[in-house]
Symmetry: C2
Amino acid sequence: PANKKILFLPGDGIGPEVMRQVRRVIDWMDRKRGLTFDVSEGLVGGAAIDAHGVPLADETLAEAKAADCVLLGAVGGPKWDNIGFDKRPEAGLLALRKELGLFANLRPAIVFDALVDASTLKADVVRGLNIMIVRELTGGVYFGEPRGITDLGNGERRGLNTQSYTTSEIRRVATVAFELARQRGRKLHSVEKANVMESGLLWREEVTKLHKESFTDVELQHMYADNCAMQLLKNPKQFDVIVTDNLFGDILSDEAAMLTGSLGMLPSASLGAADAAGNRKALYEPVHGSAPDIAGKDIANPIATMLSFAMALRYSFDRGQDADMIEKAVQNVLGGGMRTADIMAPGMARCSTTVMGDSILREL
Amino acid sequence: PANKKILFLPGDGIGPEVMRQVRRVIDWMDRKRGLTFDVSEGLVGGAAIDAHGVPLADETLAEAKAADCVLLGAVGGPKWDNIGFDKRPEAGLLALRKELGLFANLRPAIVFDALVDASTLKADVVRGLNIMIVRELTGGVYFGEPRGITDLGNGERRGLNTQSYTTSEIRRVATVAFELARQRGRKLHSVEKANVMESGLLWREEVTKLHKESFTDVELQHMYADNCAMQLLKNPKQFDVIVTDNLFGDILSDEAAMLTGSLGMLPSASLGAADAAGNRKALYEPVHGSAPDIAGKDIANPIATMLSFAMALRYSFDRGQDADMIEKAVQNVLGGGMRTADIMAPGMARCSTTVMGDSILREL
Ligand SMILES: CC(C)[C@H](C(=O)O)[C@@H](O)C(=O)O
Ligand SMILES: CC(C)[C@H](C(=O)O)[C@@H](O)C(=O)O
């Protein structure tokens, strides 16, 4: 069969330098694991604005559609902060999500044993934490119409957005979450504001129905988003899988990420629907941003991007064993005391982006 | 002058029993501080549904409008969980907010020295924490039209809500926040998702304009809501005052509340516009819910409601000194080791709702 195709979109800030370390792992896979990828590279975000005047060129989008998966670094930076709403770096990312139909965003929040102390929470509260947040990614207030700012006269303006969800949008993302829960701790929390928003009420009703139809082996609990924000702090280990909408997911997955104290460690996957052959469009990216302040200094942590590639191996290429190998290598390197600046702690060895890459390759 | 009028709305669950302790403090104020209130009582939430079939009767709303302020306990409980969307206990609370025009919700998140260990966060991270969140309370997706669930045929439905903000809605709540910041640490964070939502972009532009016009002595920073959810965990003491919309405020103020670890301690104030005489409609309520599981057992913590009354003294009756007295009494009682069950810790004395009330009165 033809080689699998990966599109690299390094983006802005530290994106390119952390992606470079993944490139080395891919070369290693090629030599040692008989897994050859065709890797091509494109521009997104600020880098694309600088080159083409738009945050995602049509050709890049076409390449993304043709690839088996996309690996993205990060987008944005102060340079592009005062650009129009539709032309900003983030618009490139949103267009990728929407055009590839990546409706399920998987955001693990995992506390690595070696990094328990990085959390601002007490060690007992977070040790062993392993939550999977499934965030709806192509609907809700991010894409709802009508939207915009209108002039009402007399110096008054109105800003408007629309939160909208349909039965099938809710069911497809909830199905992903139920299936993940089934492979994990069989516990799903569905999160909305059904007490205030009809879109949340529909969400609750549809998830309840789907549960009864197909997933009675998974324990389902409904929770309001404000309560979820509290429970994540009070007792995060009560959660296994959480499914929620685009906007609540944006906030709650970042809160959950910060519970771990080490954003530089966290990967994410964004998945589309499976076609007849079982293939689905997918984009993998680290949770952290482009960190313009440390870009180009070879001090960024490449692990989140490395683990995003591991997720790609697992979810796009059915190579769970290779994914396990990378995850194990990362754990061993951390166990050995190696730390990039963001996760540095007393008694550990501080290393550069490149040396972290070296160490992971050596472990492999 | 005529006595000031307070409407008591104890509501459901533990509402009535915590309000009873405030009643005792009011009696004490009458005898010792020459401050006589006319207190009347009404029904809201489930209690009103049981009595009148609606969560807020018209007469109760009229009384609330006529009062100088409303003191509310808590609403809701499993008994009323499967009631229609417009008839649920929460609808009573939302109607009160909207009809009284209570657009500014003040939610302090304060860590009391005696309770530092109640937080799941490390003591160093939260010791001395004192954040004031100002949440917009009568606009946004909570009240925006169109809204509802529509049948699309073929088993498909759509749930819809509308997020809307106007220039004047944004300016009036931001003014409250800037003025509070001016009396505190002179630092304001304005929180939205201007990178994704036009309503958030308008919010950012209007707050920026107001800042330049009238509050250049306050330091203003803009922050995305997802980043705020992270920063509250990473370094909560970076915040002084936060202003945000109704929905983000719901989530972020609950997250901030849980940073303290002791929800039973946190009050809130909801304020309307000042009339020509400088009076404003106001509602005060504890942050915690109705806690149906412990209702009627005399074990709930009355402090949050007590401190809500202190906020009433400060914001509605210009009696800052009396408010200080109550706050000081609470601190002394905690310093003395008295604890209700929710904040109980090794080496402390566990007490009932009533005994906590006794102790605070004794301190006064
Ligand atoms: C960059 C931004 C548009 C994006 C979002 O809000 O979805 C980011 O916060 C994320 O979570 O991936
Ligand atoms: C009870 C509910 C309607 C309410 C809200 O969402 O505003 C509550 O969570 C609050 O924060 O006061």
